[in-house]
């Protein structure tokens, strides 16, 4: 499955639009990691455990979007956008959406 955040794919032609596909996941942080993050708020620096967590969740959201596109019979998702929102203390939602299309070589 081709995933791209551009409207056109170089060297390929869009033959059919299948509509919007999306994937999202809500993740909460681990309490132990939260304590570490509290300490980091004093010293500063990167919170690598959060970076990892968000990356994993984003992959999961992407996977869900791809699954939806697969069910529609698409072979590519174009114009993909990410969005992140923190919905409650300690939980954030990762959302990814795009348009499912069928592309073929030009």
């Amino acid at each position: 499955m081709l995933i791209s955040n551009m409207e056109v794919v170089p060297g390929k032609r869009i033959t059919q639009h299948m509509g919007l596909v999306q994937g999202s996941t809500v993740r909460a942080k681990h309490a132990g990691k939260d304590i570490m993050a509290g300490l980091k708020n004093i010293f500063g620096g990167e919170l690598s455990s959060y970076t990892e967590l968000l990356n994993e969740s984003r992959d999961e959201a992407l996977e869900r979007m791809k699954e939806q596109a697969r069910l529609l019979g698409a072979n590519a998702v174009l114009n993909v956008r990410f969005s992140t929102s923190s919905i409650a203390a300690g939980a954030s939602e990762l959302f990814v959406y795009g348009s499912a299309v069928i592309v073929e070589d030009r």
Binding site: L2, I3, S4, N5, M6, E7, V8, V9, P10, G11, K29, D34, A37, G38, K40, N41, I42, F43, G44, G45, E46, L47, S48, Y50, T51, L54, N55, R58, V80, R81, F82, S83, T84, S85, S86, A89, G90, S92
Partner: protein, 159 residues
């Protein structure tokens, strides 16, 4: 009295460790930026003609950076008088450059020669919502252009 001592200790810890980690981070950023300067990053929506025979793939890089105590206090004081908050400016600058670098590194490991339609998104990881900034997440993503036929210019020369 006790509270004041705790406050001053935290302030000092934030100042020394925060400054040290920021300087270290900036050094590593400029080092890697130099290494990856040949990998084009363009925020254009339409791919230029020379990428016609490239295959595309989504790449992304993200980083979560925390403020230190000193920055929180300085920004809090700055909010009283208003104006430029230099403490947060450098934090966001570091976050963006780091996220873009990670995206470039992923593109580089795929053998790409450019990243098109780059977008940057910043969000706040707020758990201590009332007390300043907490930490920020920066995500950079784009479409990596991977050459499908490596000897592109040599074949162009032969025809």
């Amino acid at each position: 009295m006790e509270q004041l001592i705790i406050f001053l200790v935290l302030l000092a810890l934030g100042y020394f460790f925060g400054r040290r980690s920021e300087a270290k981070h900036y050094r590593s950023i400029s080092e890697r930026e130099l290494q990856l300067q040949n990998l084009l990053v363009l925020p254009t929506r339409i791919p230029p003609r020379e990428f016609r025979s490239h295959s595309s793939q989504l790449v992304s890089g993200s980083v979560v950076i925390s403020v230190d105590y000193f920055k929180t206090v300085v920004a809090g004081l700055r909010a009283i008088v208003g104006g430029r908050v230099g403490a947060y400016e450098s934090l966001l600058d570091r976050g963006r450059r780091e996220a873009i670098l990670r995206m470039q590194q992923q593109a580089d490991s795929l053998g790409a020669d450019a990243v098109l339609n780059m977008k940057v998104e910043t969000s706040r990881i707020g758990d201590n919502a009332s007390k300043g900034l907490g930490s920020i997440e920066v995500l950079a993503y784009g479409t990596a252009m991977i050459p499908t036929e490596p000897p592109l210019n040599s074949s162009g020369a032969s025809t």
